[in-house]
Amino acid sequence: MQRRDFIKSTALASATAVIAQRLAAAQGTTPTVGPTLPPAGEGITWDKAPCRFCGTGCHVQVGVRDGKVVAVQGDQLADVNKGLLCMKGYHVGGILYGEDRLTTPQLRRNGKLEDISWEEAIDVIARRIMRNPDGFGFYGSGQWTVPEGYAAQMLMKAGLGNNHIEPNARLCMASAVTGYLSVYGVDEPAGCYDDLDAADVVINWGNNPAEMHPVLFSRVIDRRSRGEKVTLIDLSTRRTRSTEYADHYLEFKPHTDLAIANGIAHLLIANGTWDREFVEKHCNFKHDPTAKSLHGEAIDFETYSAAVAPYTPEKVEEISGVSAADMRMLGDLFGNRNLRITSLWCMGMNQHSRGTAINRLVHGVHLLSGHFGRPGDAPTSLTGQPSACGTAREVGTLCHLLPGGRLVAKQPHRQECEELWNLPAGRINPKPGYHTVLMWEKFCTPTTAGGDIDTILVQVTNPGQSLPDLKRLFRDKQGLEDKFLIVSDVYPTATTELADLILPAALWVEKNGVFGNSERRTQQWFKMVEPPGQARPDVWMTLAIAHRLFELGHPGMRDRDGIYFMRTLDDDGTEVPTWDWAHFHDINADRALFNDYRRFTFLKHKNVAPYDVLVKSRGMRWPVIEQPDGTFKETPFRFMEFSDPYVKPGAGIQFYHSSTGDDRAQIWFNPYEPAAEEPDETYPFWLCTGRVIEHWHTGTMTMRVPQLRGSMPNAYVEMHPNDALKLGFTQGEIVVVESRRGSIELPVWLNGRGRPPTGSVFVPFFDQNLLINDLTINDTCPISKEPDYKKCAVRLRRRTVTSAA
């Protein structure tokens, strides 16, 4: 058989096997073709890995031949994607092979980048830290693997006693975190993707899963194809691909989702369809008069009921634009306990200056109506990055967290962590560090004016494109001679443009890794190919920096016994010098770090599986509990007795981390309030930013894939034809979009895949040459500190000769 024939037959077999599985599921029979691994042949070897892109956590089989990734197949053994891939996963193998991969450390001297050795690079970093340890910030992301994030966390909080560490996840799901914490007392969803197989109604709250989480979306469409009735409701500020499949499209004015959620709560009470038994048994009521408190104040049901009473269908229609009839339809759906309702959301609710509040309210609607605690009845926030949950939230790389859901501000929590790390008492700094926006603001402010962060190390993210209000929070670094930016990445980016030191990084299957996806699933993979040139894993960089600091005499690099505290031990307890590149691969450093981290996960019932168990699985959802026979069992549904072993027998549902200490969840009232910046006479349009199906976030990887870049080569401004007509714009015309913070020129796209209403425009943020975040606002949710990328005011005008020049 010729090579291409072999690949074609492998490809067709994969699709046929997935269909066989589906047919068997629909008919309740055994599939004629079982889930299979791709056949070895033509010199191709296959191994599993989670996809590198979004938080869905699809598993792929990666085909390698002659040291190169040559094929990718959806993993049929993976529960998440059951053999499917999306358009980006389709091309994930190609991200490794852009021509301009960074391959050598480079130091900027006299304005020019010069190649240097890794030894010098690590020494430069360590000496920058030594000269001002408190002025050092570490900025990573939800693309950090769990071991990478854990190593960074150890270096900063356990070693330097410095809490200025943040993941870019602050920019994408911090409001989901504060939502879960303030409602359930513990982060991350109770439900899982299995809810999508059981729900009668799926409500998208301001998200577009058809493009952003297509494999999850296809799970619902697949059920419909099998003849099942699944009602899709698209609550959105513009029409998207998801709208095309929706039974109901409810368009709301930006920022008014709080009024809609309160309106549903009002209807449940007014109609007497709230679940009194569930609420009386499992819930308390709270409000937040300061609008800044994570835990707020207790109120009674009567106070809550009075607070939501003004949100009548007619009033909500006036505020949001969603008709009173549609509000009643939503109220009736939630009031029907015979249905199972899953709410999904992503950046629309999280990148919101009332992000915590809207997260609370959607959880509250589910709790008040009793649509909680059965498969298919769940409020779930989807993440945008592959390990936003695993690394940012669980490892706790946010500036106020410690691993295992511990807080730096709580003395008993610090003590627990100091003991697990064998640190001297008092090593961990009790003061939370700077959150993302503040960290970059301090970095871009002259030291003499209070800018007390002078060095930032960036790993696996691109803040020069993804931060809001980019001039203020990033480019103002230019000209500040005492500031020093270190960037580890795989390609040149908007961030490396201002870097003083660039570190070439290994990417995806060029290194070992562990991710944690949106449904609490921890996923492991092994290195399969060599990184190019001198590119190295980020985890090695952090281990090497820590050891160089130890050599330079930083006292924080010693534990309470005076021994180097970030040492890597093998199974026999022998130290392996993984900080030394020549010995990094003598041991699986990921395994050692992950198993060390695992001890922390028991502190808040987030038990992850041992590394060696994950090796054999397609990921496991925590808490993962060891069984009497030595096997490990995952927990699909949390707080529910039928699934969660931590629930007391007989309790049915138990919120065992309740912030009120009574095993109850909190139902919140938060009022609707106008956005921080709304359109006015001068800036009459709403601007919403977001993603496109072809590109992943800032496009640094997907813009190197010819097919994806060819399909979507540049950003655009999507607008309503009537607005274009009024302004005299034509399809494709380059126009100026400007806010109070900046302006850019973009081609107009009318009647495209997204269709905003009049008065709104949408611009994607993937394009490095057209930085829409020059225009966005740096206003954040007062509790989560997550910026609002979805709402600010802009104006549009024709390009003048001057601006075109």
Binding site: A11, A15, M87, S218, P706, Q707
Partner: protein, 88 residues
């Protein structure tokens, strides 16, 4: 810059319409679609192998065919062609 990526093999699952005439029209069109080889139809799912330099664009065209409801992907070859030059 002109981007001319090499042809790649991928496999698709096309979900076809429950409407019999639309389904039949889709099957007829797909059977002769350039670059597409179809497998055994198991209502409503049709497995297919696509060989194309622009699979995303072809998928968009397939999606637009009457009777094609949804397209999913299960396999993709990473082409061995020249990598894309650096960003301008």
């Amino acid at each position: 810059m002109t981007i001319a990526p090499p042809a790649a093999i991928s496999s698709l699952i096309l979900t076809l319409s429950a409407d019999a005439s639309a389904e039949a029209a889709a099957l007829r069109a797909l059977a002769v679609y350039p670059g597409l080889e179809i497998g055994d139809y198991q209502r409503p799912w049709l497995p297919a192998v696509l060989e194309s330099a622009t699979p995303k664009d072809v998928c968009a065209q397939l999606q637009a065919l009457p009777g094609v409801v949804f397209i999913e992907v299960t396999f993709v070859e990473v082409p061995n062609g020249a990598p894309l030059p650096s960003l301008p």
